[in-house]
């Protein structure tokens, strides 16, 4: 089984649209893992039947029992996150600020602080209308556990893929350069970078590629909106060549991308479009590169 991850560094380059298209082209051969857990949108382009739902717990939050609190204020002194405030004669925790380090609970002289396990999000296994499986998640509000949730989503996708023996796992990766994107890329067989010929697109691609280079994994690039700035497109092509990335496709600016999203479809399902052929070609190249 091969794992293919699609990432972009910059948002709005068409990463999810491309992943949805690859998922459609792969059909039952792939389990899709939506690891863009902060903005998990893959489920919006296919009707789903949810098969399983699991809670994902990660991290803790301090809770002070006001009946037991002696009001000594030792907890405030040790908290490095300014998460504890006085309230009358006792103290209370601001849940948004609390990092769950447990320092206050450990030193409270009267044992008034309990560390409560936090639900960080939910993980779903669902059947798509292509009859393939999608594993997706929803992160709780303000949860800082997205890197771990990515790992959980991928673990679940792998279990499902092994159970039904699919050829591929397609991963819609996280944006940015932090922990979630590292967790999306680690252990994959091929990385597809989606970018656009804009200064921001090139800037963010350069940053995210340094993450990819930490892993010994082949990578290719899809240039989306390739015709919006010829000069930038040239710079981008040079960069792609220089980095030794496979150029998988150059896709022109096309408003059908947002139309397809709004119809709840992947763009390759609109068969008469030239961009569909280009995406098809990119998918074939990915398959050649991993075989």
């Amino acid at each position: 089984m091969k794992q293919i991850v699609i990432i972009s560094g910059k948002g709005g380059t068409g990463k999810t649209s491309l992943t949805a298209s690859f998922a459609f082209l792969a059909g039952k051969d792939a389990v899709v893992a939506d690891c863009d857990v902060d903005a998990a949108d893959m489920h919006l382009v296919t009707e789903l039947v949810t098969l399983e739902k699991k809670n994902f717990f990660s991290g803790y939050e301090a809770v002070i029992d006001p009946g037991m609190c002696a009001g000594c204020g030792d907890c405030v002194k040790v908290c490095h996150f300014d998460a504890i405030l006085p309230e009358g004669d006792v103290y209370k925790v601001l849940p948004v600020e609390c990092e769950g380090c447990g320092y206050c609970a450990r030193i409270c002289p009267v044992g008034a602080i309990e560390m409560k396990k936090l639900k960080a999000g939910e993980i779903y296994v669902a059947r798509t209308r292509m009859n393939s499986l999608l594993v997706h998640a929803r992160l709780g509000i303000g949860s800082d556990m997205s890197g771990k949730l990515v790992a959980e989503v991928r673990k679940e996708a792998k279990i499902q893929a092994e159970k039904i023996k699919t050829k591929y796992i397609l991963i819609d990766g996280s944006p940015g350069i932090g922990c979630p994107v590292t967790a999306s890329v680690t252990g994959t067989d091929y990385v597809v970078l989606v970018t656009e010929p804009t200064l921001s697109g090139i800037h963010d691609l350069k940053r995210v590629i340094e993450i990819v280079r930490n892993f010994d994994v082949p990578a290719g690039c899809v240039i989306n909106k390739a015709d919006i700035h010829p000069e930038m497109a040239m710079q981008l092509r040079d960069f792609v060549n220089h980095q030794g990335l496979d150029l998988l496709a150059e896709i022109p600016y096309d408003q059908n991308f947002s139309k397809a999203i709004n119809e709840g479809k992947s763009i390759v399902e609109k068969k008469d479009l030239p961009v569909s052929g280009l995406i098809n070609g990119a998918w074939k190249k990915v398959l050649e590169n991993i075989s």
Binding site: G9, A39, C101, Y103, L139, I211
Partner: protein
Amino acid sequence: MKIAIASGKGGTGKTTVSVNLSAWIHDMTNRPVVLVDLDVEEPDAGIFLHGEIIERSVRYRKIPRWNKDTCILSGECAAVCMYNAIAFTGKSVMVFPELCHGCYACSDLCPSHSLPMVDDRIGEITLYRVLLPGTKRDFLRIEGRLDIGREMATPMIAQTVSFAEQYSKDNSVIIFDAPPGTSCPMMEAAKHSDYMLLVAEPTRFGLYDLDLAAETLRELQKPFAVVINKDNPEVNMIDDYCRKKAIPVIARIPHMRQAASIYAGGGLLYGQIPEIGKEMEKVFKFLQGLPDERIKK
């Protein structure tokens, strides 16, 4: 006035609104403006606003470092760490900086004081003077930039905000270009602002992610309004949603290929596309009309 510009989904035009609004306000009202790039993983505002560096400083956070000469191998450090950032093998102690949240528990509670907290580089903060194109006037831009491979965006954002506060006057308009998403980095930026603008695009992805961001801000009790980018008169889903949730839609930036291409080359839009200048004016007038005294200032 401290305004954070955010979006649930990346790539909806958060930076476009931040840079154009900052330049427009300074251009048209001559107010002192400080644009603060808090999208520390991918700080892109500088692509559109050029200027000279006034000051640059390396930023650190504190993490524990094992001192094996004084350690008595109690194992207390690993026992107190809730993040599994310390491994105790019985013969040695290992610190995993990428898992450390800097709570000091291991360091303070170590019986032999063998885990002093030391500096750990996370990134850089740079202060720029931005020259307004075609004029002799300038305003400030502050950029927080997280080192690649570092995973702690939140402390970098907090440090960038406090740095920015030193350079803000009473009548400054402070604009935060916030990180995308709805997790801790975005909430850290929200915490320091008086009012938020959420930039949304009229697609199902844009709507879903707007809903997540709006829910997060409600939870934080942070007031906010919506700016629609890549507006399409035929698609009303963002308007319908905002009407239902009683969220003001204060401006709409039309979907234009010309805008995409100016953006691609790193240009400002409001000078070349007058409709976009008018939308920036609407945003500023709306903010000035808000009842909150801090925002009016």
